[in-house]
């Protein structure tokens, strides 16, 4: 009896280990690649190009860093970046709510989407397709919801924006 239970536990533990190995095989290169590329000047240039769009979502340029950290790394990993910036008070409470709303809808796009994308997928193409679908829907909803909130609140939602960009 004990050996039967023991064998069952061993078998399921092994398939659990195999499952995490399969996930790690893709996740590790993706996460390392993100850390290698994120601080590069190319990304900073793209980030600056996106800044005018942040205004439409009710956020000012200082929101870009916590937003990027949250979108790619997730709320828990990104907390290392998000919390210190929130404590510095460079971001007003209203903007912070916009950031929170955006990140609640769309965060950790590499990890969260991949974990679900690969289950039951028959080819790498299906995984990629489903990842794009999962991430795309979340990103679209995040932009729609934060943008909608900004429109709903009107100019009040963009008080920090009226002061103009704070960075040179």
């Amino acid at each position: 009896m004990t050996s039967v239970i023991g064998q069952a536990i061993l078998e399921s533990a092994l398939s659990g280990a195999l499952f995490s190995l399969k996930v790690a095989a893709v996740l590790v290169p993706a996460l390392v690649l993100y850390d290698l590329l994120a601080p590069s000047p190319l990304f900073a240039r793209w980030g600056r190009r996106l800044e005018p769009w942040l205004g439409r979502l009710g956020m000012s340029p200082p929101c870009a860093m916590p937003l990027a950290a949250g979108v790619f790394l997730g709320i828990i990993y990104g907390a290392g970046v998000i919390l210190p910036i929130a404590e510095e008070k460079t971001i007003g409470p209203d903007e912070l709510h916009s950031v929170g709303l955006f990140l609640c809808t769309c965060h950790a796009v590499i990890e969260d989407t991949f974990l679900f994308a690969w289950i039951g997928a028959r080819s790498p193409l299906e995984v990629a397709g489903r990842m794009l679908l999962l991430a795309g829907v979340r990103l679209t909803l995040a932009v729609a919801v934060t943008g909608g909130r900004r429109l709903w609140l009107g100019p009040r939602g963009g008080t920090a924006l009226a002061a103009g960009p704070r960075m040179a």
């Binding site: 069952a8 533990a13 659990g16 340029p61 709320i75 950031v99 709303l101 990890e111 979340r138």
Partner: protein
């Protein structure tokens, strides 16, 4: 921010690897016990019972009752345990897509809400928003990706 020095390639690589190692450790630590627990629960017939009890709620999303376990794990614990449970249950392409969208919207609610609270966001409203959004997205996705039950 524009004057922040770009860290050296080695520093970035080390940061990426340490983050990955942490992720893998969490993944492994969560997945193995989840697989074992799901297997034991399955043998005891508990998963079948939970499935029967939750079937009415999950049928709103055209999902089998057992997937309620996956949803609860995602909401309360994290996406790793939910993905592991879903992996051990097995599901169709449409079901996984629907669950992925639902749970992407709302997961690890306890920990993430605490982070948002610490950051000073209006966490109560955000929590409600996430749950409502999760249900709405799940309902819509189920109509798109899962065929009507016979």
């Amino acid at each position: 921010m524009a004057t922040t020095p770009v860290p050296a390639m080695r520093v970035r690589l080390r940061r990426g690897l340490s983050r990955s190692r942490h992720t893998c450790w969490v993944l492994f630590r969560v997945t193995v016990p989840t697989f074992v627990a799901m297997d034991l629960l399955g043998r005891l017939g508990a998963i079948e019972t939970i499935g029967r009890l939750c079937a009415p709620i999950m049928s709103l999303f055209r999902l089998p009752g057992e997937t309620a376990i996956v949803v609860l794990l995602a909401y309360l614990v994290n996406v790793y345990s939910a993905a592991a449970a879903l992996g051990s249950l097995g599901a169709t392409f449409g079901q996984v897509t629907t669950l992925g969208l639902m749970l992407g919207m709302a997961h690890a609610l306890v920990v993430e809400t605490l982070v948002l609270k610490t950051a000073g966001a209006r966490f109560g409203r955000l929590l409600l928003y996430r749950l409502v959004m999760s249900a709405l997205v799940g309902w819509t996705a189920s109509r798109l990706f899962i065929g009507a039950p016979q």
